[in-house]
């Protein structure tokens, strides 16, 4: 019995001793912590918006604020630099909301690369300066903005059987893809 308690004690001691590694971090923050420029741009651009949730994100180098809100029944994520300059807007969309030609190109990529695939998340991404991004939202004007598509999907072929994240250009041509490493499931499995 003493041995079991010793084990428990060792685990607790190990816990305390762990230092945190540098990693991608995202955490919820209060709107007070966000630069006023970001909040003003948001107020000006999204006149009818739902509740805004603010997040701080860093990958160890780049630090950004991200606002998540609902607009016209769609989920928008708006990224800002720490000084409140808008960087890009990502909107969660369904396959049926995609330009048919872009969808055709993306599906062709999936069909030719994988024997089995399914799309789990699709976002349209607009990048540009603050006035142009404002026009995208309040005037549906897409001048001088770069359009890309970010997609999360499952793809299996003879070589790989993974979850992927891919970026496509405005025509649906693949720019880059990477494997998404799912977090360990040991606490869900045993």
């Amino acid at each position: 019995m003493r041995c079991v308690f010793t084990l428990v004690f060792i685990f607790c001691a190990v816990l305390v001793g762990f230092s945190q590694e540098k990693n991608e971090v995202e955490r919820r923050i209060k709107s007070d912590e966000v630069h006023d420029n970001a909040k003003e741009w948001l107020k000006e651009t999204y006149k009818k918006r739902g509740k805004t949730k603010w997040y701080y994100q860093t990958d160890g180098n780049k630090e950004v604020f991200e606002a998540k809100l609902k607009h016209n029944k769609q989920l928008h994520s708006i990224e800002f630099s720490l000084d409140g300059q808008v960087q890009n807007i990502e909107i969660l969309i369904g396959e049926d909301e995609l330009d048919p030609k872009v969808l055709e190109s993306i599906l062709k990529f999936l069909d030719t690369t994988y024997t089995k695939s399914s799309i789990s998340k699709l976002q349209i991404q607009y990048t540009g300066d603050e006035d142009d991004l404002e026009d995208v939202i309040d005037e549906q004007e897409f001048e001088d903005v770069i359009v890309k598509y970010e997609m999360e999907f499952y793809g299996k072929n003879d070589k790989d059987d993974e979850l992927w994240e891919a970026l496509f250009d405005e025509h649906g041509e693949l720019i880059q893809k990477r494997i998404i490493n799912l977090k360990a499931t040991d606490n869900l499995d045993y």
């Binding site: 079991v4 084990l7 816990l15 945190q20 993974e162 799912l182 040991d186 606490n187 499995d189 045993y190």
Partner: protein, 226 residues
Amino acid sequence: MKYCLSILFTLSSVVSLAQNERFVFGFFPEAALSYKLSEDYTTTHKIESQHGLYDTQYLNQEFEYAHQLTDVQTFLGRRLSPFLKADIGYQYRLQEGKNTQRTIQQISILQRVSYYRLGHRVRVDQTFYKDAPLLFRARYRLKGQLPLQGQSLDVGETYLTISNELIYMIQRSEDDIENRFAVGLGFYMDDKNKFEVGFDYRTDDYLVENRFRHRLWFKIGYYKSL
């Protein structure tokens, strides 16, 4: 604070419910160590132990300590897809002169829903006794993991876990049902080190007359992978 209050509330309801039936309360530490054998194969070793502090049947109502059992388990798992894993396992149970052996087979499915994730586990096991017939159990567990800071679980953050497992068991011609409901708070130190603390509320002997039993365990678990 809100979580502590709800846990306290659940605890007090359980205790008042259990006044006329058998009620056991105790401490339940567990620890798991997992490591990869190859790209697709993983081994997991787990030790878990039940320590009773209070039992209405044995009248050790003055918080008398009693070691109940310690399980040592080893699993061999194969990844079938990023979301699907199959395991076979073996357990040796140390229980005061009633040691048993168990074989286990399980399928686990990971489901990602919005910003939380669900783990489905379908398990069957067979327990071998020295002087009793084989016990066969079929189990299904659903465990949810919900980040408490932001929408993704990052290093240094905490998460909430809620799980329920339903177990059907049959030994020769006698069968029974057990239910296990658990809530816990998890500490995500990094992907290789997780610590969970919470309560595991088990009820069994549903199909046996006058023997309904409640067990409430204060659980701490450590999940380590290499």
